[in-house]
């Protein structure tokens, strides 16, 4: 059963509050870069190198801000990366306890099937392309729905408002155009 918006909203707010209270605001999308860094460094050990001052990388983005991303990729057992792994574990346990995602819903959500048919290949290809544009956009923006929208708006960040305006400004018309049938 999905929680009511009141219960769910308060719980979600408490999680974001606890994060700021105890550590720092929640963010997710940076960890896609860290994961790439771990993979790239495993393939090519010269990708990330340790210097006297810390870490650096042959990639300008990994090396920026004093090599903080390079450092995180070299030490995957850091707060932000473990946070994201724990988030996935939490979602997996919660889903399992609810009985899991069932049947055709595992391949694609019903609302997609109603609007675009039953082809798994089509849904997978669009999910891949969507993932590409979403994480590229999130990195360009410097954060995603968690970091900019939730954590940003709660802190009265101007960047949070800019991001939210962009995300809903594009998301609402696109969803209205694409999903004409949405009873499912």
């Amino acid at each position: 059963m999905t929680l009511s918006w009141k219960t769910g909203g308060i719980l979600l707010g408490m999680v974001f509050l606890a994060a700021v209270l105890l550590v720092k605001p929640i963010g997710v999308s940076t960890q896609f870069v860290i994961a790439d860094g771990i993979i790239a460094d495993a393939i090519n050990p010269d990708f990330i190198t340790q210097t006297d001052e810390g870490y650096t990388s042959t990639n300008a983005y990994m090396a920026k801000s004093g090599g903080k991303y390079a450092k995180s990729a070299s030490n995957p057992l850091n707060y932000s990366f473990v946070f994201v792994l724990a988030m996935m574990a939490g979602a997996a346990i919660s889903s399992y306890l609810r009985g899991g995602v069932k049947g055709g819903e595992k391949t694609m959500p019903n609302i997609w099937r109603e609007n675009f048919g039953d082809s798994a290949l089509k849904r997978f290809a669009v999910s891949f392309a969507g993932g590409f544009i979403i994480v590229f956009g999130a990195r360009l923006a410097g954060g995603c729905t968690s970091g900019h929208m939730m954590s940003g708006l709660m802190q009265t960040s101007i960047s949070g408002y800019m991001f939210t305006l962009g995300a809903f400004g594009a998301g609402i018309p696109v969803a209205m155009m694409l999903y004409k049938k949405s009873e499912g």
Partner: protein
């Protein structure tokens, strides 16, 4: 070690809550953006409001360390990146956090989302120097700016004369008020979507 335990506890709680509010199901995200079911929008707005009021009130009472705030820079790319993310968000029903959680919850299409996301991150890493050269990463509003000046921080602000903590509480209450004011569904919004059919 403490920070790793906190990562496991807070991250785990975040994943559980994302799943329980329905955010791991792309349907609710898509319906929120298509404005046919605002359950998730009300949830998010309430969460932001509750967190904002509690955090700023806690700061004023001296219970919350203002040093844990971390404001991100404002620049044109934030808005452009938001447009890109919003487009993909509407098409797939996933954002980075909910996509990873949905895959963990057992959705196969979300695995493709993750693969695309890893490639998208790599594409940004490769094109970063060029993106930077276009100037869209240059700070606006003084960079890490807040709406009003938050006491105890050096963040620049748009309304420097106003107290940032009180403004934060007022805005937080505003988000809560909007959460309550929004209808669950926009019935008869001009799009024949059969909104009279009850959910589930």
């Amino acid at each position: 070690m403490t920070t790793i335990i906190l990562a496991i506890v807070i991250g785990g709680a975040f994943g559980v809550v994302l799943d329980r509010i329905g955010a791991t199901n792309p349907k609710l995200t898509i319906k929120m953006l298509a404005l046919t079911n605002l359950h998730l929008m009300k949830t998010i707005l309430l969460a932001i409001g509750v967190a904002a009021v509690a955090m700023f009130a806690g700061q004023m009472a001296g219970l919350v360390d203002v040093g844990h705030m971390s404001v991100k820079s404002a620049y044109l790319g934030v808005f452009i990146g938001g447009l890109l993310l919003g487009t993909g968000w509407a098409v797939t029903g996933y954002c980075p956090g909910t996509g990873l959680s949905a895959a963990a919850a057992g959705r196969k299409d979300a695995l493709f989302f993750i693969a695309g996301g890893l490639l998208g991150a790599a594409a940004y890493m490769v094109s970063y120097s060029w993106v930077k050269s276009t100037g869209i990463l240059a700070d606006m509003f003084g960079g890490k700016a807040t709406v009003a000046a938050v006491p105890g921080t050096d963040y620049p602000s748009v309304f420097a004369g106003l107290p940032g903590d009180i403004v934060g509480i007022v805005l937080g209450l505003g988000f809560i008020a909007i959460a309550f004011a929004l209808p669950n569904k926009f019935v008869g919004s001009g799009h024949a979507r059969g909104t009279a059919v009850p959910a589930e």
